[in-house]
C-alpha cells in the first residue's frame, strides 16, 4: 500500500491538469495538447486509485477492458455529422455511472455500518447523485434517440433503431418489475414497477407530447425530492433509493422529450452540465476532491454553454424547458408571404458568383443532413482561385449542438480563420456581393428584427438580407424549426435554388467551371 498523502498529491496533480486541459481548449493551436493533458490527468487519477491498496482487480480489469473497447470503437467510427448524438450518448453513460456508484456506495455503507450511523454528508450526496445521475442518464438517452431519429417519430424505423428503441424500453420495464418483485409486494415495490413501466411506455410513444405531461413532470419532480428526503432519513432501505432513481428517470424523460430540434443545442449543453454535477455529487459521496473539482469544471462549462445558446435565441432557459416554440395566431400565411418568390438555376448563380468580389456562405442544419461540407469546400477553393473572397458566417445555434457547423467545416479542411462569428460579420453584409444560405432558415429570418409578435422576435440573426444578392439553397419552402414562414425568400434581392444542398453546390461548381 502506498502512503495516503502520496495518493492525495496525485489527485491534486490530476485536478490541476484538468484545469490546464480546459484552459488550453481556448485556442485551436493548443487544444489538442489540452485534450492530451486531460487524458493524462485521468490516467494519473485512475493509477493513484488502483495503487491506494485494499482492492482486488478482477471486476476492475474486466470493466475497463469492456468499456475501452466499446468507447474506442464508437469514437473512431462515428461520422462528424453524427457528433451531437455521440456526445449525447457519452453524457448518458457518465450519468448512468454516477447513479450506479451512488447505489453501490449506499449498499456498501449500509453493510459496514448500522443504518443511521453513516454521516449526513454521505447520505445527502447519495440522494443528489442518484437524482441528478438518473435525470442525466434518461434525459441523455432521449436526446440521443431524438437526434438519431428513432424516438417520438411516426415513420418506419430501421432495424438497429428498432433494436435500441424496443430493447431499451424492455430492459427498463423488465428490470424494474424484476427488482420490485424480488423485494416482495409492498406499496414501494409496486411504485418501483410502475415507474419502470411508465418510462418504457413514454419512450415507445410516437409523439413527443401526451396529455397530462406537465402534471406528470411536476409530480415526478416533487416526488423524487420527497423520496430523496425519505432516503436520507432511512438509508437502510435500498428499495427506496431505487424508487427515487426510477421517479427521477420519469422526470429526465419528460424534460427532454418535449424539446424541439431548434432547442437541442440548449438541452445537450444542459445535460453536459448535469453529468458534471452528478460527478461532483459522487465526489461528496466518497469524499474525493478530484471528483468534486473535475465535476464542477464540467458543470460550469455546461452552464456557460447553455447560457450562450439561450442568449443566441433570445429565450430564457425556463422558456426553452417549459414552453413550446411554434406559430402563433399572428403568424402570417405562408402563401401570402411567398407570392413573390423567384426561383433560379445553378447557371444563373454561377454568373453572379463570377462577377462577385466577396461571397459569404451561411450554413445550417441542412448542410449536415445533405453532407454538403466537402462540396462547399470545393466551391470555396474554386472561387478563391478566381480571386473571389469567401467567408463563412456561423450562427451560435446553427445545427444541433454548440459549434456543430465549425466541426463539419473543419472536417472539410476549411481553415478556422475563415469561419466568422455572427456579431463579427454582420456589419460587413452591405459589402457582400453574394450570400449563399445553405440549409439554414430561422437564423436568417428578418422577422426576428421586424415583428415583435413573432415567436422568434428579438433573436439575433445573420443579416444576409443586407447583402446585394442572397441565394437560398433549400429543398422546398417548408418552414424551419420555429414553424413560421421566412419573408427573406420573397425579397427582391433573394433567389431560391431548390434542391438537395450537396447536389446543388456540385452543380454550381460545374457551372462556374464551364463559365
Amino acid at each position: 500500500m502506498i502512503n495516503v498523502n502520496l495518493i492525495n498529491i496525485a489527485y491534486v496533480l490530476a485536478a490541476v491538469l484538468f484545469i490546464f486541459d480546459l484552459k488550453w481548449m481556448a485556442h485551436p493551436k493548443t487544444a489538442v495538447r489540452g485534450n492530451n493533458i486531460g487524458a493524462l490527468a485521468m490516467l494519473i487519477a485512475i493509477a493513484a486509485t488502483l495503487l491506494s491498496g485494499g482492492l482486488e482487480f478482477h471486476y476492475i480489469i474486466l470493466g475497463i477492458i469492456i468499456g475501452s473497447i466499446i468507447g474506442a470503437i464508437a469514437a473512431m467510427r462515428v461520422a462528424m455529422t453524427a457528433m451531437p448524438e455521440m456526445v449525447g450518448l457519452f453524457n448518458g453513460f457518465g450519468g448512468g455511472a454516477s447513479v450506479l456508484v451512488a447505489g453501490a456506495a449506499l449498499v456498501a455503507a449500509m453493510s459496514s455500518l448500522a443504518a443511521g450511523e453513516s454521516d449526513m454528508q454521505m447520505k445527502i450526496a447519495t440522494v443528489a447523485s442518484g437524482i441528478i445521475g438518473s435525470v442525466t442518464f434518461f434525459g441523455s438517452y432521449v436526446a440521443f434517440g431524438k437526434l438519431a431519429e428513432f424516438l417520438a417519430v411516426k415513420w418506419k424505423l430501421r432495424l438497429w433503431q428498432k433494436i435500441i428503441k424496443y430493447g431499451f424500453s424492455l430492459v427498463t420495464a423488465a428490470g424494474a418489475i424484476w427488482y420490485g418483485y424480488s423485494q416482495g409486494i409492498s406499496i414501494l415495490s409496486v411504485v418501483m414497477m410502475f415507474s419502470g413501466v411508465i418510462i418504457a411506455l413514454m419512450l415507445l410513444n410516437k409523439k413527443d407530447r401526451f396529455p397530462g405531461m406537465n402534471a406528470l413532470k411536476i409530480v415526478s419532480a416533487i416526488a423524487s425530492v420527497v423520496i430523496g428526503v425519505m432516503v436520507v432519513m432511512n438509508p437502510g432501505n435500498t428499495l427506496l433509493f431505487w424508487v427515487m432513481v426510477g421517479i427521477a428517470g420519469i422526470l429526465g424523460v419528460i424534460l427532454t422529450l418535449s424539446i424541439g430540434g431548434a432547442d437541442m443545442p440548449v438541452v445537450i449543453a444542459l445535460l453536459n452540465s448535469y453529468s458534471g454535477l452528478a460527478a461532483t455529487a459522487t465526489g461528496f459521496v466518497i469524499n474525493n476532491n478530484v471528483l468534486i473539482i473535475a465535476g464542477s469544471l464540467v458543470g460550469a462549462s455546461g452552464i456557460i454553454l447553455t447560457q450562450i445558446m439561450c442568449k443566441a435565441m433570445n429565450r430564457s432557459l425556463a422558456n426553452v424547458l417549459f414552453a413550446t416554440l411554434g406559430p402563433t395566431a399572428d403568424t402570417p400565411d405562408a402563401d401570402e408571404v411567398y407570392k413573390t418568390v423567384k426561383s433560379t438555376s445553378p447557371e444563373e448563380v454561377a454568373m453572379l458568383l463570377e462577377d462577385a468580389q466577396k461571397v459569404v456562405v451561411v450554413p445550417g442544419y441542412g448542410m449536415a443532413v445533405s453532407q454538403a461540407q466537402h462540396a462547399v469546400r470545393d466551391l470555396a477553393n474554386l472561387l478563391e482561385s478566381k480571386g473571389i473572397e469567401v467567408e463563412f458566417a456561423i450562427h451560435p445555434v446553427a445545427g444541433r449542438m454548440p459549434g456543430h457547423m465549425n466541426v463539419l467545416l473543419a472536417e472539410a479542411d476549411i481553415p478556422y480563420d475563415k469561419l466568422r462569428e455572427m456579431d463579427d460579420i454582420n456589419p460587413s453584409f452591405p459589402q457582400v456581393d453574394v450570400a449563399i444560405v445553405l440549409g439554414a432558415n430561422d437564423v436568417v429570418n428578418p422577422v426576428a428584427r421586424t415583428d415583435p409578435k413573432s415567436p422568434i422576435a428579438g433573436m439575433p440573426i445573420i443579416d444576409v438580407d443586407k447583402a446585394r444578392t442572397v441565394v437560398v439553397i433549400k429543398r422546398s419552402l417548408s418552414p424551419g424549426f420555429a414553424g413560421i414562414p421566412n419573408p427573406l425568400f420573397a425579397m427582391d434581392n433573394a433567389l431560391m435554388l431548390f434542391g438537395d444542398g450537396k447536389k446543388e453546390i456540385q452543380a454550381l461548381i460545374a457551372a462556374v467551371k464551364e463559365g
Partner: protein, 93 residues
C-alpha cells in the same frame, strides 16, 4: 475543519475557476469543449473503481460498481478519443 466544509469550499472555488477559464473558449471550439469536458465528467470512474474492487464489499455493491466501471470507461475513453479526432481537423491556412 469539518470534512464537509472543506469539500464545499473546494466545490465553490472550482466552479469559479470553471467559469473563468471556459468563458475564454471561442464558439469554434464549442463542440470539442463539450465532448472534452464530457470525458472529464467520466471521473466518476474513480468512485466506481473503489467500490468494484474494495475487499469485503457486498457482492451487490460490486456488481453495480462493475457496471459503473464499464459505463464510465466508455465515457472516458470514447470522450477523449473523439475530441482528439475532432481537434486534429482544425487547421489554419
Amino acid at each position: 475543519m469539518d470534512i464537509f466544509v472543506t469539500a464545499l469550499t473546494i466545490f465553490i472555488l472550482a466552479i469559479f475557476v470553471g467559469f473563468e477559464i471556459i468563458t475564454k473558449v471561442p464558439p469554434t471550439l464549442h463542440t470539442p469543449l463539450m465532448s472534452g469536458s464530457n470525458a472529464i465528467s467520466g471521473i466518476t470512474i474513480i468512485g466506481a473503481l473503489v467500490l468494484a474492487g474494495q475487499i469485503g464489499n457486498p457482492h451487490l455493491a460490486k456488481i453495480l460498481a462493475f457496471v459503473a466501471v464499464v459505463f464510465a470507461t466508455i465515457n472516458v475513453v470514447g470522450g477523449f478519443l473523439v475530441t482528439d479526432r475532432m481537434l486534429k481537423m482544425f487547421k489554419k491556412k
